[in-house]
Amino acid sequence: MNPPGTKIVSLRNVGKTFESGTVALDGLSLDVHAGEFVSLLGPSGCGKSTALRIIAGLSVPSAGAVEWPFGDSKIGFVFQEPTLMPWADVAANVRLPLKLAHGDEAQAQIAVRQVIARVGLAEFAQSYPRELSGGMKMRTSIARALVTEPQLLLMDEPFAALDEITRFKLNNDLLRLWQDLRRTVIFVTHSVFESVYLSQRIVVMTPRPGRVFAEIAIPAPCPRDERFRTSAEYAGYCRQVAEALSKAMAGGGT
């Protein structure tokens, strides 16, 4: 694993134009450092999901490059929907990445059990996705992303479809996981409040074509909890980020 603070991935002037002619990204440059929690914040359609897919290698940039200074990292990806296989139970869904890699069966069993316990689903290992609540499905999805012990965790608006109570709970659990495991997280969201609560750094993007409008550090100490959510400090950061976002939306230059 890379020592904290070293660059793990860099986007250099990345552009993406789809076949339809839509320019999703234009000149996006971004460095992500080992161990940090970065949010990409922007209105829907600003290309933040596209940027995430390009980092994951699921989409090829039409301009610019993605650089991995220390070689490719193992990646875990969490989609906006839980994206589970409905015919497989929780344990089988979580085991999928290990199964595809033809790993050792016994080790896989242990890894699966551990990661399921870590996301709080130990009692539901044999349940099928249709038997789970929205939050539990998302936990399963997160467990599957973590089971290969990836260095980089990419999350594409994972909590957008959940109710607020569940979302707050998962926010806290995600922060705890991030602190315990010391992974790097790139988190795409369109919620100012969520990004401030979770991130060490927020990258505000312009509407299509997506570029970096501003980068805002959130130096509030970790661990954070529900008290942080109601603090004056939190409100201040939210105002600062919201202002940057509305400037980005208005199309004002930096």
Binding site: F77, M85, W87, L100
Partner: protein, 260 residues
């Protein structure tokens, strides 16, 4: 429980009433049995000719079963080949459609010229039955959740891993629906081919019995054979529905019972 009882009882009651009316009309007007046999006569014929009809039923059923198995293998196999290699789909699919839309009654006499009779009958049944399996499985294989495909892509899954772990299981509900249709169609295909072959002689399946009884004006036996054919069709349908339910009951909406 009451609800379920009513669902079984209502059609049975309707059937009983209709049979009684039928029996009454035949007796009251003393309709000769070569015009319309009474239900009671059909039943006694069924018992009297049991040996003959039973062996014919077995002949028809074994053709149906063979055609069904070949249709399942052919339909699923072709659908998998289509999904793995697009050029195969482009070059073969139109012919599958042509085969499907051309009425089987028109193809059967030709097949009987070129193939030995048992093989021709089997080929007819297969032609009718394989298309719904192909069409449904193709639909299932191509409507896989694109995010799950991206996930398999992310973990560098091979084509075979994607096929085996993702595409086939997610196509299973449609595949089973196709098989359920194919079961009934195998029987229809076998019957049509047997009737077409009937005039050429040498048949011994149920459809041939119907044709033969027709020539001999043995109408009660025609009805008895027809009764056995529908019973066979219903049994096939229920067997395949049960199979489908067993395979999907843990996860698919169509098979899951919701409590309200």
């Amino acid at each position: 429980m009451n609800e379920r009882w009513r669902r079984v009882a209502s059609p049975l009651l309707t059937l009983a009433v209709l049979l009684l009316i039928w029996e009454a009309i035949v007796r009251f007007y003393t309709v000769p049995s070569y015009v319309l046999p009474a239900p009671s006569l059909v039943l006694t014929t069924l018992v009297a000719d049991a040996g003959l009809l039973w062996s014919s039923l077995l002949v028809t059923l074994s053709i149906t079963f063979e055609a069904f198995v070949l249709a399942a293998l052919g339909g699923v196999g072709l659908a998998v080949a289509f999904s793995l290699w697009r050029p195969i789909e482009r070059s073969l699919y139109p012919f599958a459609v042509i085969l499907q839309v051309t009425p089987i009654v028109a193809i059967a006499p030709l097949l009987l010229i070129y193939l030995p009779q048992p093989l021709a009958v089997l080929a007819c049944a297969w032609i009718v039955a394989f298309f719904p399996v192909l069409a449904n499985t193709t639909l299932g294989l191509s409507s896989v959740d694109h995010n799950l495909l991206a996930l398999f892509d992310l973990y560098k899954a091979s084509r075979w891993q994607v096929l085996w772990n993702l595409k086939l299981p997610s196509a299973l509900p449609q595949m089973l629906a196709g098989l359920r249709i194919a079961g009934g169609l195998s029987l229809i295909g076998a019957v049509v081919a047997e009737i077409a072959a009937g005039s050429a002689g040498a048949g011994s399946g149920l459809a041939y019995r119907i044709a033969e009884s027709g020539y001999r004006l043995n109408i009660p036996r025609m009805f008895a054979a027809l009764l056995l054919l529908s019973a066979a069709g219903v049994a096939i349908f229920f067997a395949l529905s049960a199979l489908s339910h067993l395979a999907l009951r843990r996860w698919h909406e169509s098979a899951v019972r919701r409590e309200r």
